[in-house]
């Protein structure tokens, strides 16, 4: 194993200002992304992972199937990784903290769950309804980084030892495991600091040498002590992220501006930090990893938390302009200048950031679960479509999904064998199967909670939960303060449009009977008559088309799903089950599991994206009509059904256009929506990039909840993004682009 460093790449005479360093770092990031894309890419977040061949870790299994289960095996493997993991250090950067692997992904895919705790009965139902059950899915809740800031790794170690001494032997496996892990972390961080010291000696450029010396000092301190300065705090965050990602890809940021504000204000007051330096540090943080951070929003008393640091965070993201998962929390008191600046960034940079959440909709929804307003306001944007109270709750957010289109399909094929079937028969049948699917999903979550510790304990994120170390148990064993389990429905628009089409063409117009429609679907609309009927079905009232029968079905289906999920709370007292509508990047896989549907969708075609309507929902593609429809299906329990919006940059190319977009965002969120993801996409460019993704290696799109480099996506996923752009821009064609359009970077790359 050898470190990846970039020592002595510049002459001793070269000087560097912060902007130049960021340009060079960004160029390196873009090149690394292209390398990842050429190596196969991935339909997911960037994570800041480095592709390399210097360090290949071989998993040491503790089971004949080649996988690892339980505390001991995870601890041994993780500590072994840390003992061997090389340093990645760029002298241009303010921080180190790049990781090379996710330990959880080294397990055999077929053997992630501990086979001693089978769930074969449930698996039958999971298969029947095409449910992503979430069993064995790790992280997807939010750590409280303030715990790390307050204690440092050394303080956490002391606390573990102290608590162990007061607890019985039943807790010793937990404490001994966590103590071993934290000791390995501290040892690893000290080794990294020493290596940076050595690199500082080697580096010939005086400017970069000084940076490395300071970096080494910062790292030596944060190896075990709490951070004292702005730079130390961010360095601590970078390492936390790498350590958590390396274990099980876990991370999630939090309320960035408030987390760092005390360090910023203190350093500024003592003359230790300039705004230019703060921007540079924040930009380096964003380059490190694409974690989710929230900016702005109300404090416990409803006062806006936007600060000078919120502005600097936007500036930093603006400077590097890559995949950034920043969320602005919109509320009535939000600083209007800050909000407007964020909208300018969104439209000027066209990289899918920031996105926007509604404080009112999220807070009022979460309060419907019985939480206080204060608790609800602590639930910050932390993932693709989800919010979480840092250090307080366990959620399985975004890991559990029911393919509602598949549930509909089961119900339809059961009902449609009868000549005398009517739409209400189909509805009743759908409800029965929906209830079965939701109950199976709930049982799966309970199975996960019961046995996850024996499969994969949360060794890193456990340490950043309030009162968990005191309790001495894994988070799934009662270590969290609250259990708010996420269950998302996917394919909602397919189900809505299918019900609306059946109602119109079978029950009302009597164009076709249910058995005949079933035969058509079984044949995937084959033949001339099949094609005609497919088109007629597609002309039925559509979700997103306005105040039409599809909207009535939408509310009915939303209520049924929400009711079924919330009923689980009564079945499993003490645990909240919270509904949402989201598909993440499962639109293709879910679609492949479902045959042709009465909305005119062909067998195997993707389901609708998230909570969005199907393509062609309305002839004018009106944004307001689409967003009003999505507002109508919000479950209102604190989880989201996000709006995914694709807009042309031309609609906000002047001050008036920006004003209109600010108003649009406020209106979308005021109308009841919870979360808004926006892509500002130059249609011609996205088509050109679809044909030749490496022509635009730095083009970023918001795929679902996450942003990703377009070149990293598979052709199928690129097509999905293109289809969404075409849905709101039906006349889009691909004109030739001049060569100077190749890079979208706002700063020239050296």
């Amino acid at each position: 194993m050898s470190a990846i460093t970039f020592i002595n790449q510049y002459d001793a005479q070269e000087s560097f200002d912060y902007d130049r360093r960021l340009r060079l770092l960004r160029a390196r990031k873009v090149a690394q992304t292209e390398e990842k894309a050429r190596a196969g890419g991935a339909n997911e977040d960037d994570y800041g992972l480095i592709v390399q061949d210097a360090f290949i870790y071989q998993l040491a299994p503790n089971h004949p199937n080649g996988s690892i289960y339980g505390y001991q095996a995870w601890v041994e493997n993780y500590c072994s990784v840390l003992a061997q993991h090389p340093l990645y250090c760029d002298p241009l950067d303010a921080f180190v903290g790049k990781g090379f692997l996710f330990l959880e992904r080294l397990r055999p895919k077929a053997h992630k769950w501990n086979p001693d705790y089978p769930f074969d009965d449930l698996q039958v139902l999971f298969d029947r309804y095409n449910i992503i059950h979430g069993i064995d899915n790790c992280h997807h809740f939010t750590p409280d980084l303030q715990i790390g800031f307050d204690l440092g790794w050394g303080g956490i170690l002391d606390k573990l030892k102290r608590c162990r001494s007061s607890k019985g032997s039943a807790h010793h496996e937990f404490y001994d495991s966590e103590i071993t892990v934290v000791e390995a972390v501290i040892g690893f961080l000290h080794r990294m600091a020493s290596e940076i010291d050595r690199l500082a000696e080697e580096e010939q450029n005086p400017h970069l040498k000084a940076n490395l010396k300071e970096m080494a000092a910062v790292n030596r301190h944060v190896a075990s002590e709490p951070p004292r300065t702005f730079r130390e705090a961010i360095q601590w965050m970078c390492w936390f992220s790498m350590l958590s990602r390396t274990y099980n890809r876990g991370s999630a940021g939090g309320q960035l501006d408030e987390l760092l504000r005390p360090y910023y204000e203190q350093d500024k007051a003592h003359g230790l930090l300039t705004d230019e330096e703060a921007v540079f540090y924040l930009a380096c943080l964003f380059l490190q990893d694409s974690r989710y951070f929230q900016l702005g929003g109300p404090d416990a008393d409803g006062r806006d938390m936007t600060s000078a640091l919120s502005y600097l965070a936007l500036e930093a993201a603006d400077k590097i302009n890559i995949a950034c998962n920043l969320t602005i929390r919109v509320h009535d008191q939000l600083d209007p200048a800050f909000f407007r600046k964020s909208v300018v960034c969104l439209f000027r940079n066209r990289q899918g950031w920031p996105r926007y959440s509604s404080d009112t909709a999220l807070v009022e929804g979460f309060m419907n679960c019985g939480y206080t307003r204060d608790q609800a306001r602590k639930r910050v944007a932390a993932g693709c479509h989800w919010m979480c109270m840092p250090g307080l709750e366990y959620t399985m957010n975004d890991t559990v999904k029911i393919n509602l289109a598949r549930v509909f399909e089961v119900a339809f094929h059961e009902t449609a064998v009868r000549e005398d079937a009517r739409i209400e028969d189909l509805w009743q049948c759908f409800n029965r199967h929906l209830e079965q699917a939701v109950n199976a999903t709930g049982a799966g979550i309970m199975h996960h909670l019961k046995y996850q510790t024996r499969s994969q304990p949360e060794l890193i994120l456990n340490l950043f939960q309030q009162n968990l170390i005191e309790k001495g148990v894994n988070i799934t064993d009662g270590g969290a303060n609250f259990y708010n389990m996420c269950i998302d429905g996917s394919g909602l628009a397919v189900v809505i449009d299918s019900f609306a089409a059946c109602e119109q063409h079978v029950d009302q117009k009597k164009d076709i009977t249910y058995p005949a429609l079933k035969a058509l679907l079984d044949a995937d609309f084959a033949g001339a008559e099949g094609q005609v009927m497919q088109h007629l079905l597609m002309r039925s009232p559509r979700f997103g088309g306005g105040d039409n029968p599809a909207l009535t079905w939408a509310v009915r289906i939303k209520d049924a799903f929400t009711g079924a999920v919330r009923a689980l709370c009564r079945r499993y007292p003490g645990i909240q089950f919270i509904p949402g509508f989201f598909s993440w990047s499962n639109t293709i896989a879910f679609g492949k599991a479902v045959g042709a549907t009465p909305d005119g969708r062909k067998s195997g075609d993707p389901i609708n994206h998230g909570a969005n309507p199907n393509s062609g929902f309305r002839r004018d593609g009106a944004v307001s009509a689409m967003c009003n429809a999505i507002a109508a299906i919000q479950p209102n329990f604190g989880n989201t059904a996000p709006v995914q919006l694709e807009l042309d940059p031309g609609i906000a190319d002047d001050e008036e256009g920006i004003d209109k977009m600010c108003a649009m965002i406020r209106a979308i969120l005021k109308s009841g929506n919870t979360l808004l993801n926006v892509n500002i996409i130059d249609g011609a460019k996205i088509l050109a990039a679809h044909s030749d993704p490496f022509r635009f290696p730095d083009l970023v799109v918001r795929v679902t909840g996450f942003t990703a480099f377009f070149a990293m996506l598979s052709p199928e996923f690129r097509q999905l993004v293109v289809d969404r752009v075409k849905a709101v821009n039906p006349t889009l064609e691909q004109p030739a682009l001049p060569d100077e359009c190749t890079l979208s970077c706002p700063m020239p790359i050296e």
């Binding site: 001339a528 094609q531 005609v532 009927m533 497919q534 088109h535 007629l536 002309r539 306005g546 105040d547 004018d620 009106a622 944004v623 307001s624 009509a625 009003n628 609609i651 256009g657 004003d659 209109k660 108003a663 649009m664 406020r666 209106a667 005021k670 109308s671 006349t731």
Partner: protein, 299 residues
């Protein structure tokens, strides 16, 4: 109260201040050869045919009571002389290759659609725009719509050519918050030749609205070879600058997207080879207009 509506377009960003819903009324009293919404010109419903969507199913042939549709092999042929625009063919067309432009709607039906975007109007300072065709061609319906919008607190803008008797113009305009009107040509002869209407009517109505203190936006569509001469723009700008209540003068670049609509109506289109004006020419014309001492926007 009924009216003939071509289309209701929600989330409209270019038909007045803020975010708007634009209601396109059908029927126009000018005949501009460049109109990029030719389906709105006739005061009766119009049948549009988009052959690229046709799958040759023949349902229209069976549905048409006038034998206007024929399938010659795989070729779908429409005899426009037989078509009565009854819409039965479009109703059964599965792919929307056949579409009717023009739906009879009540005020309540329009308002049901308009009402859905109230929050967008409130947040943006937007509202409802009545456009065309020509809104003045359906004055009673337009009046009823304006009153219904006012009753619900929606701001109303009119997009008009001002080619109507002053009493009609004044009656509608005084209830609106904004009137956006075109002056296409400042030469009287050229105006009559290209639009079939008298320029004097337009200019007198404009002066009347200014005297009434109604907020105005003057616009000129820049049609290559017809309206895009500097002297034309300068003349219109000079006239607009004298209107006391004018907000600004807007130059609208040529929109080439109308070609497929002309084809769908089997109508000739004299501007199918024309292209939008270059950024350089737009800048020049903007400067020419600004010389008259008026704020100028280009779209």
């Amino acid at each position: 109260m009924h009216g003939l509506v071509t289309e209701i377009q929600r989330f409209s960003l270019h038909d007045g201040p803020g975010i708007r819903t634009t209601v396109f009324l059908k029927g126009c009293n000018m005949q501009c050869g460049w109109c990029h919404n030719p389906e709105t010109i006739s005061a009766r419903p119009s049948l549009c045919y988009y052959p690229d969507r046709c799958i040759g199913c023949g349902r229209c042939v069976l549905a048409c009571p006038h034998q206007a549709h024929q399938m010659k092999g795989t070729l779908h042929v429409i005899d426009r002389s037989l078509c009565r625009a009854c819409g039965r063919c479009a109703a059964v067309c599965p792919t929307e290759a056949l579409l009717m432009a023009g739906t009879v709607m009540t005020v309540d039906e329009v308002m049901r659609e308009v009402r859905q975007d109230r929050v967008y109007y409130d947040e943006s300072g937007g509202g409802v725009t009545l456009s065309g065709g020509e809104v003045l061609c359906q004055p009673a319906f337009a009046r009823a719509l304006i009153e219904a919008c006012c009753a619900e607190g929606f701001a109303v803008a009119l997009e008009t050519n001002l080619n109507a008797p002053p009493a009609v113009v004044a009656d509608l305009a005084q209830k609106a918050d904004l009137v956006m009107f075109d002056i296409k040509l400042i030469d009287h002869g050229a105006h009559h030749k290209e639009t079939g209407a008298e320029l004097t009517t337009v200019l007198e109505n404009a002066r009347m609205l200014a005297d009434m203190g109604i907020s105005l936006i003057v616009r000129t569509p820049l049609i290559p070879g017809v309206t895009d001469q500097a002297e034309n723009v300068a003349g219109i700008a000079a006239f607009a600058a004298k209107l006391a209540s004018v907000r600004y003068y807007e130059l609208l670049n040529f929109n080439p997207l109308g070609a497929s609509k002309y084809a769908s109506l089997d109508l000739p289109y004299a501007f199918k080879d024309s292209r939008p004006l270059s950024p350089g020419k737009l800048s020049h014309l903007k400067a020419v207009a600004e010389a008259a001492g008026i704020t100028v926007k280009v779209n």
